[in-house]
Subunit: 193 residues, 2 copies
């Protein structure tokens, strides 16, 4: 997949795809939906829900993409080992977001990642991930967004904001049927119908 | 409360407290917990769950704070109108995070907020908030973290990261019983027991 996806992100930088590991269909539906929508809104190129299927998340993501525009790949059920293997075989790097990794603020990890100029798979787990995620068998980098416990959703948001240097927040989404016109007060929406 | 809380944030900048509006105790427990933990980890001074009580969230936040350190105010059940009124009466400003507001990337909203040098209450809603949130009766600023739908958790994370200029991610939390030593591979934890 690493070479087959359209590059829709800002800066013409390499593309990012988010792999969500450990989703539990009942319990995690809203949180995983927020992770997927964060990936989309902050200009990742796609989202992979590994190992399980959850049609709730698929429907929400596809409905939002159809309405709010842009190209966004959604995939579910693929075994995580296959995704990682294929990604690396296609020349991409794997970043594991974890509170234990190199601190994005105090280390040069982000620069080292960007200097590679390769497509990035961001691996976002839940509280207990398999130990091998930390090893070079799975990840090229372990990156922490601070070293305090908080949220995979927040961690992903800050990673994307820093990777794309803020430009992801001003991107125009192609073929949007609905668009917000930002304003100081009230709500303004432009629709094509 | 605006003047009674300790200022524990980086930069000696004004303090930030997060007000979560519209929490539904069963449905939102995990998402609101992530919002609260994001507030704490990214150096907000406190979190207010407005109008309702939810002991699940209180317990998680207090347990994490006791173990991972720092001073973090937790409050629940206070009517949002009272919090807003008291905050403003004490000289603080109210920022409503909403996809409809001034884009943090393309506007000068963040600079205007920071130039005020006042304590900040960040109002974080759910999908449908009362219309008055957008008006000057409630908010001094409506700020959007991009103008696409995504997540209040992600929006808060990026707002705090930009407000504190990244320094919140390297802050040492006082009186922590457990501490992560960031590393490229594996996990390293320091405990005081």
């Amino acid at each position: 997949m690493a070479n087959s996806q359209p590059n829709e992100n800002p800066n013409n930088s390499p593309k990012i795809v988010v792999l969500r590991w450990g989703h539990r269909p009942q319990r995690d539906v809203r949180l995983t939906t927020h992770v997927a929508l964060t990936a989309r809104a902050l200009c990742a190129s796609g989202f992979i829900l590994s190992d399980v299927e959850d049609s709730n998340i698929e429907q929400t993501v596809k409905k939002i993409t159809a309405r709010w525009g842009g190209i966004f790949h959604f995939e579910m059920g693929t075994p995580w080992k296959k995704t990682i293997h294929d990604w690396r075989a296609n020349g991409g790097v794997v970043i594991h977001l974890t509170a234990y990794g190199e601190n994005i603020q105090t280390s040069d990890a982000l620069n080292r990642i960007k200097n590679l100029n390769k497509d990035v798979l961001v691996l976002v787990g839940s509280q207990k991930v398999p130990g091998e995620f930390y090893s070079s068998v799975v990840s090229d980098f372990n990156v922490s967004i601070g070293n305090q416990p908080h949220s995979e959703c927040s961690a992903l948001a800050i990673f994307l904001d820093r990777f794309f240097e803020g430009k992801e927040l001003s991107k125009d989404f192609e073929k949007a049927k609905i668009k917000i016109i930002p304003r100081e007060r009230g709500k303004e929406i432009k629709t094509d119908d």
